[in-house]
Amino acid sequence: MEQFLFKLKKAKEGNPPLRAEIKQEVRTELRRFFDKSEVVRVAPVTHHSIHSRLRTLFLRPMPIVLALALILSGGATAAARHAEPGDFLYPIKVNVIEQARAGLSFSTEAKAQWEEHRAEERLKEAAELETKGELNAENRTDIEGRFNSHVARVRDLVAELRAKGNTQAALSVESALEASIQRHLDLKVDVRAEAEHGNEVRQAAHELRDNIRDSLKGLGELRLDIQTDDRDDSDE
């Protein structure tokens, strides 16, 4: 045991310290956050001021930590987290809260996991709208566009992970995305609700399913590629 504790001490002493640029970057963000913390007070939204508040939010570059306050603070932000396409707060959810959360991850793996989560979130929104009979061509196009861009981003990040030799992480993120899509495709269609909702909902739901089915096919091929990498690594 003495030997192990000695190793521990040696490893501690020899381990590279926190990178100075990272330490400085986080410090700068914390300071900026203090200085601008009044902007965080956007949370308790009042209707007469919301437009000017939102304009301020979107026009300013969003420091990571400031944006995090939006994620963590209550009021409108909590409401925005549950917003659906078409809701007033939906742009806050996807352009501010989710974007800010994406900026909080330094590692490629964390970024990929977050993009996968965002893709899944789009599918949940679509399912929710479909259940409520509110899915239409407009919000379907919006969801589909965002979903496709999340999938494309996951693919880029998976490629980065593979390039770094982190095949297991690449496989794990890719499989999670495939599973999310499959779950959405497996959702039972409520025939009675479909009949009540009419053609528009049905049409939008089917088009969305067709689109994500294509994504699933592409991901299946990607998974096979990664598994081949993995096997090659094991053989070596």
């Binding site: 045991m1 192990f4 001490k9 964390a110």
Partner: protein
């Protein structure tokens, strides 16, 4: 909102503890990038807690507690990863690992990781506090919100657990 005095105190704590928190996180997750993420998230969470008007008696202890909670959350998310995968993701895949000293350091960290990841989270946590963070029983007691006596007992138990896990030579 925090007044300017509190902000300065917080930044001072950051300056003093960022490296230690990073090191603590590194020796719990064995990844430079993840340790940097966790360090950042720790201070953001603590700041948020302070700015909501909450009072913290021992800031250092609270920062360590927060870091530990984040590490536990993260390890829950990653529990599906096997030991083999954890060991494969060695620090050598990270930047600036090409000199002989770096390689030796990587081997050392990998050796430690092999033993540590096999221990229960509490033992890992205690051993890291004691031997990586160099915290004494009193400080560990503050973090864990127990008595110093109890902290000493737990450290001693952690050492026994470690001993039982080490290969007998």
């Amino acid at each position: 909102m925090l007044d300017s005095k509190a902000r300065e105190a917080f930044l001072k704590a950051y300056d003093e503890l960022a490296d230690a928190i990073y090191r603590h996180c590194f020796f719990r997750v064995y990844s430079q990038a993840r340790a940097e993420d966790l360090m950042q998230e720790t201070f953001i969470k603590v700041w948020h807690y302070c700015s909501n008007g909450n009072t913290i008696e021992y800031l250092k202890a609270f920062i360590y507690q927060t870091a530990n909670n984040l590490i536990i959350d993260e390890s829950r998310k990653r529990k599906e990863e096997s030991l083999e995968v954890l060991l494969e993701n060695s620090p050598a895949s990270e930047p600036s690992h090409d000199t002989r000293a770096d390689i030796e350091q990587d081997m050392l960290v990998t050796d430690i990781k092999k033993v540590m990841v096999d221990l229960d989270p509490e033992t890992q946590q205690l051993l890291t506090y004691r031997f990586i963070d160099d915290l004494g029983p009193r400080e560990i007691a503050e973090i864990l919100q127990i008595t110093p006596n109890n902290a000493s007992v737990r450290i001693s138990r952690a050492l026994q657990t470690l001993k039982a896990h080490l290969p007998t030579s």
